[in-house]
Symmetry: C2
Subunit: 208 residues, 2 copies
């Protein structure tokens, strides 16, 4: 049993996206070279990545689009589709609610929470916005395991702790701060300023 590189996991979703596209176009079989063109990833990398999980391809032919699509969904545990809770219906929260196409049937935001009286009781794209004081109850009742945290930095650590106690297993956070969580809970931070800073650094390099 081999260890699977983190980077391999990261690349699976782009592969999945490409496969969904190809499937819609009616393409039945795809060689790694074609996937490579679409995803801008070296074909050898793609083959190696997929080989960690089994032998999905046919030599001399390529990969069966439908089968590989299903296989990746299963590897990523996107089957059946997961329900995600959104906490914080500000600008970022609304952007995520409006951006449902992104899920490729693997996961959807099913419920949202906020503390703003004007938002509570409304629905955005069919997703109800509930009172954040009821969060623990709903998370437990619906057995939700994933949350997106899109609240201001000041309250993010507090709410993260509440999610932890409510039984959440993973958090995708947009707060530009570290969330001290036990290692049993997976936390990923999307930090926009870090990305910008990196870009500035690399874009101002001159050639040697």
């Amino acid at each position: 049993m081999k260890k699977i590189p983190t980077e391999t996991i990261k690349r699976l979703f782009p592969y999945l996206r490409a496969l969904v596209c190809l499937d819609k176009e009616g393409t039945a079989v795809v060689p790694s070279s074609r996937l490579a063109d679409i995803c801008h990833i070296n074909p050898a990398v793609i083959r190696k990545d997929l080989s960690y999980f089994g032998e999905f391809g046919t030599r001399g032919v390529g990969y069966d689009v439908k089968k590989l699509k299903v296989a990746i969904r299963e590897i990523l545990n996107l089957k059946p589709a997961k329900t995600v809770a959104l906490v914080g219906v500000g600008n970022i929260g609304r952007a995520l609610l409006s951006y449902q196409g992104f899920a490729l049937e693997g996961f959807t935001i099913g419920i949202a929470f906020d503390n703003d009286k004007n938002k509570i009781g409304t629905a955005v794209r069919g997703i109800p916005v509930l009172d954040i004081s009821q969060m623990e109850k709903y998370v437990a009742a619906e057995n939700i395991q994933l949350a997106i945290l899109a609240v201001p930095e000041q309250v993010a650590p507090k709410i993260a702790r509440r999610l932890e106690k409510a039984g959440i297993r993973a958090i995708l956070s947009f707060a530009p701060c570290q969330l001290a969580m036990p290692s049993s809970i997976k936390v990923t931070c999307v930090d926009l300023s870090t990305e910008m800073a990196r870009l500035i650094y690399y874009s101002s390099e001159e050639e040697p």
Copy 2:
């Protein structure tokens, strides 16, 4: 002259954020162990990262907060502060415009573009929203080198090409698709579904 790891560059901004905090609190000197606590990064990593760029610390004492702050700003080329253009004033765009605190005086969104007549001519948080047809003109006139692309997936590649021709050097994109750009232009994609998929994968792992 050594090669600097990509990961080192990524970590500089979190260091900078911690230093700005420490400076506000009035802390003058900080050892790597303290920075490590704040950033949740191993102290040896911090020391190694900083050592790529010079000797900023004092043995037996630690790092001078103000000096290190300035040094990192210079390394990242955040001094003087850079002006960034935002293209697309939808939900994500507005979130970014409202989220200016994130820049730590290293960069600010100075101008925004959209194609919606209702948005053109307005201003969000003091930042004017201009007609996207005028984009090339303003980018050239104000010598803007960085752009945030927050437009729908369908039009993202086309607008990216326009930005390229207008002389932009780096793009931070929120479109869940690959942008084929010459290597002289640095592109970073923030792909929310990939992040979600990763989290789902890792959160459903059981211990061995």
